[in-house]
């Protein structure tokens, strides 16, 4: 039995995982990162457009601060987020980006003087101030009141990940590559590490740790077309689910990005629209202002995606052999801007579509993009059901995104959550002695060995690749952008059957070492369970909120549904998760529910909303003269680790 001991085990080598590893290491704890691939190839690298942080240096960002960022994030989430978490996040984001600056990210900087930009289809000249020269620049993104998205051309994720991994290398943090965690080790409700399969030798290794952090990204690949990397299969999330102890939160909250290229689903950044790009229909007509006269192409992602589908349903899509699509027009931004600030998009268009985006329109369609759901944690990033298990980044439902994430808030979450949760992981390592019965390790190891040998020994059975395709098709057809009872009920029934079939997988290639078919056979049953959590959660949620849009329940219903879905898979023989709900307490909200400002507001209000509004009014009246920071501390006091406390400075404004 091969056992490796450490203090802090991190599963996943993307931005979030590396940041947690760095935090624990800097506090003096032994830490190991496991990754399916070299860390710099993680999906974080694919984030193009930018990271939100309210620095407010660019002239179009002036007046921005934590409060504005908070409001945008809460509205963007359709009030589904945890406001304590969102608050800790927005307050820390400026510090996170400044730390990354010191670690080497070459953020695009403000150039003093005039520059030409495109706003609402028109060329406009804006003038940057002398004071802001050389500070971090920002661009416009959907659903934000200010230009807040800081960027490095459209390779933001790449530069952030390289800086982060380089920092990890400087700190001599070992990354064990081509290792896959396939089960968690736990006893008496405490996580003690993971059973890990070496993807080259096929050997199983037990990694035993005081703290285990899952940072394996999203589960986009349960859909047949996704912008996600092919490794974004949610396996880390699934092994938490399979403990039967750690609930997953809001799994039905799945984001579709408006502009992925057709047919392959590769993303073109929101920066295209942020920088002035337009959406056009088959007649070359700009349709978004008709639907959303205020925010137009820069409404929140869920809104734009739904409007695009609506418009195509009216027969306005461009037909192609791959189905209908719309056009993304960035030609008006000009060659210089595209080749410099949208160069990944430029390359993607040239290589995958054979078109030049300087001259031609890009065929786009809303495509699965982000998993708001994940391992439900408290604000410290610790699982609410399994002690010693932490989760961070897209794998987690830390819950700053609720039912819709704003563009630029995901890479921001990875590094901010990584910073904060990393401190709590280190605290946990400090406070927790490592005690484990070796029999526990043996029994978990044995269990996984048996599963694998069953797979290799079975003569006849299901093909894992076929099962996966069937699952992906079900999710695509019936659990997509617009949902309804009949489709969802059908999806749930079909997934139940797939879940049974997944117990009977047989392989053609019967070797235990490096074997892609075996990898698939281990993953697919896990993915089917995740898919069922999404489909079943969506079936039960009888309202529309953020990215969860029910045609049969089009209203947001705060009265009955202002609560978080929690899915637990307690019984290995079951075909469905057990579903519970965790209410969101309006009486503790800094920003009580209101309209998001899209379409007509038809929200069914919760009685507490008015009560809380009155209470806030009274608190403000009773405390005349308090500034915005004292107001926030009064309405929504949040815990932030000491080293990351303190007001953030802004140019021309100081610490106010």
């Amino acid at each position: 039995m091969k056992v490796i001991y450490t203090d802090s085990l991190v599963i996943g080598g993307g931005l979030a995982g590396l940041r947690v590893a760095i935090a624990a290491k800097q506090r003096g704890y032994d830490t190991i990162v496991l990754s399916l691939i070299p860390a710099k190839r993680s999906h974080s690298a694919a984030a193009q457009g930018g990271m939100q942080a309210s620095l407010g240096a660019s002239i179009k960002g002036v007046g921005d601060d934590e409060d504005v960022h908070f409001g945008d994030t809460v509205r963007g989430s359709d009030w589904g987020c945890d406001q304590d978490v969102a608050r800790a996040f927005v307050n820390t984001a400026p510090k996170a980006i400044r730390q990354l600056t010191a670690w080497g990210v070459p953020w695009s900087r403000v150039q003093r003087g005039d520059r030409q930009v495109v706003i609402n289809g028109e060329k406009v000249t804006i003038t940057e101030s002398d004071d802001a020269h050389g500070l971090i620049n920002s661009r416009d993104f959907g659903g934000t009141k200010k230009w807040r998205t800081c960027y490095t051309s459209d390779g933001t994720g790449h530069t952030m990940l390289y800086a982060m991994d380089n920092k990890a290398i400087e700190l001599k943090i070992p990354v064990h590559e081509r290792k896959e965690a396939i089960a968690l080790i736990h006893e008496e409700g405490v996580c003690k590490g993971a059973i890990v399969r070496d993807l080259i030798t096929g050997k199983l290794i037990a990694y035993v740790a005081k703290a285990t952090t899952i940072a394996t990204g999203g589960y986009g690949r349960i859909y047949s077309v996704s912008t996600n990397s092919v490794i974004s299969e949610g396996i880390g999330t699934a092994i938490a689910l399979e403990t039967g102890l750690s609930p997953l939160g809001n799994m039905e909250a799945v984001q579709f990005h408006p502009t992925a290229i057709v047919p392959v689903g590769i993303l073109t950044t929101e920066g295209c629209r942020g920088d002035g790009g337009l959406l056009l229909d088959k007649d070359g007509y700009r349709f978004m202002p008709d639907y959303e006269p205020d925010k137009k192409e820069l409404a929140s992602r869920d809104v734009v995606s739904r409007r695009m589908i609506e418009h195509m349903r009216k027969g306005k899509g461009v037909s192609s052999r791959y189905g209908d699509h719309l056009w993304l027009d960035i030609t008006l931004l000009g060659e210089k801007h595209i080749r410099k600030n949208l160069r990944e998009v430029d390359e993607i268009c040239q290589y995958f579509l054979g078109i030049d985006p300087v001259k031609e329109y890009i065929p786009v369609r809303p495509t699965q993009h982000y998993s708001m759901g994940g391992i439900k944690t408290n604000f410290k990033g610790e699982s609410i059901g399994l002690k010693g298990l932490f989760s961070v980044g897209e794998a987690a439902c830390w819950d700053m995104h609720g039912f819709n994430r704003l563009g630029g808030n995901s890479v921001a979450e990875t590094v901010v959550a990584g910073m904060l949760v990393g401190e709590y992981v280190a605290d946990h390592c400090e406070a927790t002695p490592l005690k484990i019965d070796t029999k526990t390790i043996e029994s978990f190891l044995e269990q996984e060995k048996v599963k694998i040998s069953d797979l290799l020994d079975r003569d006849k059975g299901e093909n894992p690749f076929t099962l996966k395709k069937e699952m992906q098709k079900i999710m695509m057809d019936d659990v997509g952008i617009f949902r309804n009872h009949d489709d969802l009920a059908k999806a749930v029934e079909e997934l139940k059957i797939l879940n049974q079939k997944a117990k009977n997988i047989a392989l053609r290639n019967k070797i235990s070492s490096s074997n892609p078919e075996l990898v698939e056979a281990i993953r697919v049953p896990k993915m089917i369970k995740l898919a069922q959590c999404v489909a079943y959660g969506a079936l039960l949620r009888k309202e529309s909120r953020g990215a969860h849009a029910r045609e049969d329940f089009p209203q947001r219903n705060d009265k009955d549904w202002l609560k978080r879905t929690l899915a637990t898979w307690k019984n290995e023989d079951a075909d469905l998760p057990e579903i519970d709900y965790e209410p969101l307490d309006i009486m503790k909200m800094e920003l009580p529910p209101a309209s998001r400002g899209y379409g007509n507001d038809s929200t069914i209000a919760h009685p507490d909303t008015e009560k809380r509004e009155k209470e806030i009014e009274k608190i403000l009246k009773d405390n005349p003269g308090i500034d915005r920071i004292q107001t926030q501390e009064t309405l929504n006091p949040v815990e932030i680790p000491e080293r990351y406390q303190g007001k953030n400075e802004r140019v021309g404004r100081g610490f106010k």
């Binding site: 691939i37 070299p38 710099k40 190839r41 993680s42 999906h43 690298a45 694919a46 620095l55 400026p94 510090k95 400044r98 730390q99 600056t101 010191a102 670690w103 080497g104 070459p106 953020w107 695009s108 900087r109 150039q111 020269h133 050389g134 500070l135 620049n137 390779g155 790449h158 530069t159 380089n166 920092k167 290398i169 400087e170 990354v175 590559e177 081509r178 080259i200 030798t201 990397s229 092919v230 047919p263 392959v264 052999r321 410099k340 390359e347 993607i348 290589y351 995958f352 690749f465 392989l507 053609r508 290639n509 070797i511 070492s513 490096s514 892609p516 078919e517 007001k647 400075e649 610490f655």
Partner: protein, 246 residues
């Protein structure tokens, strides 16, 4: 796009699993019906799912961003994910693993180990003793916009390893740092945040395993999928090193 008769492509792929005792390298043929817009990524997955589930290869982003899928395609090192089958009019596509890296199996090689060693060797991080003591509540240090752009220009490397597999010097001299390492070093040398001196940089690359070993055949420049300016940077580094340890 018209629905004309789709071609049948022939893939000839090197198959070898070093973990199976007695296995020997051999070329195997697979036929795939071409689809519009088909990439090597799509074709290889089809081969794995429908013809041979044991075939090994690496893809992650499948969008030309992560650098995982370098392989030799009809004699040239390329990123397989963004290589269209339509680029091969004869319809015969030969795939070999990238040379110069440890073979994991078939088309999968271990680039991770080599790149980590490279990063450790050039100390691929900002060297500034004060960096950990900065006050995060205060404005970030300013940088001229064009300096930031220049750094980004050199930081677009995705560590795919194509430059190393296209490098004749590397073939002859195992410890040769190669273009990926020079580019990384050039990136830090122009970054005002990195406080290393000319002498410190010289100690890393000022010998025949470093920038003076380059035979200037420039396969790196020819095959870099990100069109990084290798030729210019190698020349720049040489000049900088030769001018003295400043």
């Amino acid at each position: 796009m018209n629905d004309e008769q789709n071609r049948t492509l022939t893939f000839e792929i090197l198959r070898y699993n070093p973990l199976i005792k007695g296995d020997t390298p051999k070329m195997e043929k697979y036929e795939v019906v071409e689809a519009p817009g088909m990439t090597i990524f799509i074709a290889l997955n089809e081969i794995r799912e429908e013809k041979d589930p044991s075939i090994q290869f690496d893809f992650v982003c499948r969008a030309g961003i992560c650098g995982s899928c370098g392989m030799i395609i009809n004699g040239e090192p390329k990123l397989a994910c963004r290589t269209l089958t339509a680029n091969y009019p004869k319809g015969v596509i030969t795939l070999l693993p990238l040379p110069g890296f440890e073979l994991i199996g078939d088309l999968s090689v271990d680039t991770g180990k080599v790149m980590r060693q490279m990063s450790e060797r050039v100390e691929s991080w900002i060297h500034d003793k004060e960096a950990e003591n900065i006050d995060l509540t205060r404005l970030e240090e300013r940088m001229e916009p064009e300096v930031a752009d220049e750094i980004y220009e050199l930081e677009r490397c995705v560590e795919c390893g194509l430059c190393l597999s296209a490098c004749a010097t590397k073939r002859m001299r195992e410890d040769f740092l190669g273009a990926v390492g020079f580019m990384r070093l050039a990136r830090y040398s122009i970054d005002p945040r990195d406080k290393r001196t000319g002498e410190e940089f010289y100690d890393i690359i000022g010998d025949d395993d470093g920038v003076f070993g380059c035979m200037t055949l420039l396969g790196c420049e020819d095959y870099c999928p990100k069109d990084l300016p290798h030729q210019t940077q190698i020349a720049y580094l040489r000049r900088k090193m030769a001018l003295g340890k400043k």
